[in-house]
């Protein structure tokens, strides 16, 4: 069966510090991978998605970036965090066929920027 991991679970960082969040998927090959942000009381905001190694599409221009160094690894980064980067970050995967877009989510990372 497939499993998706995210770490860390919680993170408190000062403004201007760098960020690295990691997501890995087990039990499937060549998944589509996604990074979402969920602000309190708001919906899911898609940040990045990837359909293959080295292929990253950005949905929202901002100070965040994503990378996919391995087939089942997806990393969200920032060089300098802003207060507005606080939120709940979710990684998700879907099957490579993309026929139905059913997504499966990880446990999330709660990021607080102070």
């Amino acid at each position: 069966s497939q499993t998706i991991h995210q770490w860390p679970a919680t993170l408190v960082q000062p403004v201007g510090s760098p960020l690295s969040l990691e997501c890995t998927v087990e039990g499937t090959s060549n998944p589509n991978l996604y990074w979402y942000r969920q602000a309190a009381g708001r919906g899911l905001q898609l940040l990045f998605y990837s359909v293959g190694i080295g292929q990253i599409s950005s949905e929202v221009p901002q100070n965040l970036s994503a990378s996919r160094p391995q087939d089942r690894q997806f990393i969200l980064s920032s060089k300098k965090l802003l207060l507005s980067d606080s939120g709940f970050y979710l990684c998700a995967w879907s099957t490579p066929s993309g026929l139905t877009d059913t997504q499966y989510f990880g446990p999330g990372t709660r990021l607080t920027v102070l």
């Binding site: 919906g43 998605y49 979710l90 998700a92 993309g98 877009d101 059913t102 989510f105 709660r110």
Partner: protein, 109 residues
Amino acid sequence: EDQVTQSPEALRLQEGESSSLNCSYTVSGLRGLFWYRQDPGKGPEFLFTLYSAGEEKEKERLKATLTKKESFLHITAPKPEDSATYLCAVGRGSYIPTFGRGTSLIVHP
């Protein structure tokens, strides 16, 4: 542009009081409609995918139905542990589903 609207935004029920959550959608070429459950501080948990109008799926006290314009998540005799936010999303095979804002359900004992 694909759109998903969920109603109500919040719903309070007494234990055992059955009700339905609504998900209205506009999408060109629906490939799937998805329901998720999200507990506070956790990632959304996949519940169902519905593929075509008339389809129904059940899981414990939950039953999802689909028409050409909307989906309902029926909750029969809910328990306090059913309290969560329920998210609806639609996909058309573009890799990126469109999510609604969710319905927050609280079931009082």
